[in-house]
């Protein structure tokens, strides 16, 4: 708890610096990553983040120490070589994109590990810090390094903000962009540069292996919540920044803990929560929506059965008769009965269940929709009378009053369905 207060009150200026750096880094990478996610280029980010490792090692070798400028430049260059190699291969060979990306990723990362191992064997005392580039260590970053990474993040954020409309066009409809004379090739070149930069800024805090997650996961998680680009970008940045700060906190409390994996743990948590509970597209919401609909269909069918009993001159159905109609669904049937009683559609008299006044109207409406649809299928779509029932059984729950009016008009207010049964209306003699 003491640690928590100490960390989140930012008394320690070095913690405040790290948090500021992580915030900028999170916003920048989520921003770029959301565009690449929308452009269906998620794997490219993964390839680039693995491909910067040889550049980091070469930068270290050239500088002979952990000089951030050399390391960032090396990482950027090897990321750039990988990106442009993959687009060159795509243009000039018949290999598919996933093959190219998988190859580039493993070749570059493999080469990087070879260099790293060679460096570790060299006995250079500076080498200890180099391991943190694999899984990241936000707490160990010096202020000078932070200035560099934070500055690069700011550049990314600025460029994307200024060129928001151009990048929107690049993802949604690049051909149209070309048609109105925008330099789409330069715009997507610039985007690739930003993408590499976004990986490079995260190498020390998050590490090369997991940087791809920080690019793609925030946008993917945010997509569950919104259908607009601006809120999507803001929400993705928020997820990313929160995960970044929480991950840094864990590395602060447990100094042996690398930051990257913890950031990814928190990000995945946000993604999982979004997947489960977001309205409209979350699975829990979808489950309840579906269950609600199934219950409605069950109630509708029960109303229809009661109405048909009335058509046959019975005043209602006994509970035993109703259970027999829906074998093995006793619980669902009970649920429907209590729901319908609450809506005052049915009344129970001892064990006999019958429709109330408003229940007759409602039952009649469902039967009418069923029979209208059967007639429509038969007359307008030439489907045989013995093949129309199943479709009507499903669509009677969906047809809106507007569609009903349209059906009535199209069929010219028919009296009988294809099975010669009356299509009931409010002035029907059952009343």
């Amino acid at each position: 708890m003491e640690d928590f207060v100490y960390f989140f009150t930012f008394q320690d200026p070095s913690i405040a610096w790290v948090v500021l750096g992580i915030t900028l880094l999170g916003v920048g990478s989520a921003y770029v990553g959301t565009f690449s996610f929308l452009d269906k280029k998620a794997l490219l980010g993964d390839a680039i983040s693995h491909a910067v490792l040889p550049g980091i090692c070469l930068g270290f070798m050239v500088a002979g120490e952990k000089n951030p400028v050399y390391i960032v430049s090396g990482a950027f260059l090897s990321g750039a070589v990988a990106t442009f190699m993959s687009s060159w291969l795509k243009r000039n060979t018949k290999l598919s994109e996933d093959t190219i990306i998988a190859t580039i990723l493993s070749v570059f990362f493999g080469f990087g590990i070879v260099l790293l191992t060679a460096l570790q064997k060299s006995g250079n005392p500076e080498i200890a810090g180099l391991n943190s580039f694999i899984f990241g260590n936000a707490i160990g970053i010096s202020e000078a390094d932070l200035m560099l990474y934070g500055g690069l993040s700011l550049v990314i954020i600025l460029v994307l903000t200024i060129l928001l409309k151009e990048f929107r066009l690049m993802v949604f409809d690049p051909e149209y962009g070309k048609a109105i004379g925008f330099p789409m090739k330069s715009i997507s070149f610039l985007f690739n540069v930003l993408m590499i930069l976004a990986v490079v800024i995260g190498i020390q805090a998050i590490g090369v292996v997991l940087m791809a997650a920080l690019l793609i996961t925030p946008g993917a998680a945010a997509r569950f919540w919104t259908d607009r680009l601006n809120p999507l970008l803001i929400l993705a940045a928020l997820f990313s920044v929160l995960s970044g700060i929480l991950g840094t906190y864990v590395s602060f409390v447990l100094p042996q803990m690398p930051t990257g994996p913890w950031v990814v743990v928190f990000l995945s948590l946000f993604a999982l929560i979004s997947f489960l509970i977001s309205p409209k597209s979350g699975i829990i919401f979808r489950y309840f929506a579906r269950r609600k609909y199934l219950r409605k269909t069950h109630r509708d069918h029960l109303m229809k059965a009661l109405y048909k009993a009335k058509e046959n001159g019975k005043s209602g159905l006994t509970i035993a008769e109703i259970y027999q109609l829906y074998p093995y669904q006793k619980a669902a049937t009970n649920h429907s009965i209590s729901g319908l009683s609450k809506n005052n559609f049915i009344a129970t008299n001892q064990s006999l269940i019958s429709l109330t006044e408003s229940g007759i109207s409602e039952g009649m409406r469902i039967v009418r929709l069923h029979r209208l649809w059967e007639l429509y299928l038969n007359e307008s779509m030439n489907i045989a009378p013995d093949h129309v029932h199943d479709s009507a059984e499903k669509l009677e729950h969906l047809i809106t009053p507007e569609l009903e009016a349209l059906l009535e008009k199209r069929l010219n207010y028919p009296a009988l369905d294809p099975h010669q049964e009356t299509i009931p209306r409010e002035n029907h003699d059952l009343r």
Binding site: L38, K40, I162, L163, L164, K165, E166, R168, L169, V171, F172, D173, E175, Y176, G177, K178, A179, I180, G181, F182, P183, R223, T226, D227, R228, L229, L232
Partner: protein, 262 residues
């Protein structure tokens, strides 16, 4: 049956277009007068969309050139509006109807500048013209195919161009909407604009177009509707691919280079 005109708004000179090295349009040579509603007709794979894309400079021609308003394309792009096929984009992109129509104003805005009130008004006006005012804030994936098509047309209108090129704008559109859009296009041509439409229904083509271009890998006909719409031309357009031409194309495809490239 190719009618050439004086002072054409669009001149296509001996244009050959290939995909990879596979020629899909052979030596098209035509010119169009201003203020007409022009239909491009032809069977599937006849090169209709290819012709439009070549006019817009989206595919580099193997040989030949295109001039619009008597100038090279890049000098007059802001006066030309393009409606791509509906399937060419991912409609799940997070955007509203208004967002997409606003893209029509990007060309005049140029790089870096952001759309403002004036652009928004223009987009709203364009949506009204295609009868989509009620859908301004709607997420584009929730629209029907015909509504998406109308959004694309509204985007083109927001460009306020003089020449419109539309690739299958009536695909997936119901009859009454098709007629309404045709009337809108006729109003535009009456106001002096030129509209070129890739189309597949010969019946409505007869009713609405002033000028017809008939394609079947080569240019079969280009001229006023009453001159070119006859049985002979239709047979040449729709009477199957030319066997000999297809065999030459196959021969070219087997080469490692494009022998047509000059």
């Amino acid at each position: 049956m190719i009618t050439q005109v004086e002072n054409p708004i669009l001149e296509i000179h001996d244009l050959t277009v290939s995909y990879d090295q596979n020629p899909v349009l052979w030596n098209v040579d035509l010119s169009l007068p201003a203020g007409n509603l022009v239909g491009i007709l032809g069977p599937n794979g006849a090169g209709k969309s290819t012709l439009i894309k070549a006019i817009m400079g989206l595919i580099a021609p193997t040989s030949g050139f295109v001039k619009v308003f008597d100038k090279p394309l890049n000098e007059v792009r802001s006066r030309i509006s393009y409606v791509p096929q509906r399937e060419s984009v991912d409609w799940n992109f997070p955007a509203s109807v208004l967002d997409v129509v606003m893209m029509g104003t990007y060309g005049k805005l140029g790089l870096f500048r952001r759309p403002g009130k004036k652009e928004k008004d223009l987009a709203m006006k364009s949506l009204e013209q295609v009868g989509m005012s009620g859908f301004v804030g709607r997420q584009i994936s929730e629209l029907s195919g015909g509504q998406q098509q109308r959004v694309f047309i509204a985007r083109a209108l927001a460009q306020e161009a003089d020449l419109y090129l539309m690739d299958e704008p009536f695909a997936g559109v119901d009859m009454s909407t098709e007629t309404a859009i045709f009337h809108l296009l006729q109003e535009m041509t009456a106001a002096g604009k030129t509209v070129i439409v890739v189309h597949h229904d010969i019946h409505s083509a007869m009713n609405f177009f002033d000028w017809l271009i008939m394609l079947n890998l080569h240019l079969v006909a280009s001229g006023p509707k009453e001159l070119v719409m006859n049985e002979d031309m239709l047979r040449k357009t729709y009477g199957g691919k030319l066997n000999l031409l297809t065999r030459v194309t196959d021969l070219i495809r087997q080469k490692d280079f494009n022998p047509l490239k000059s």
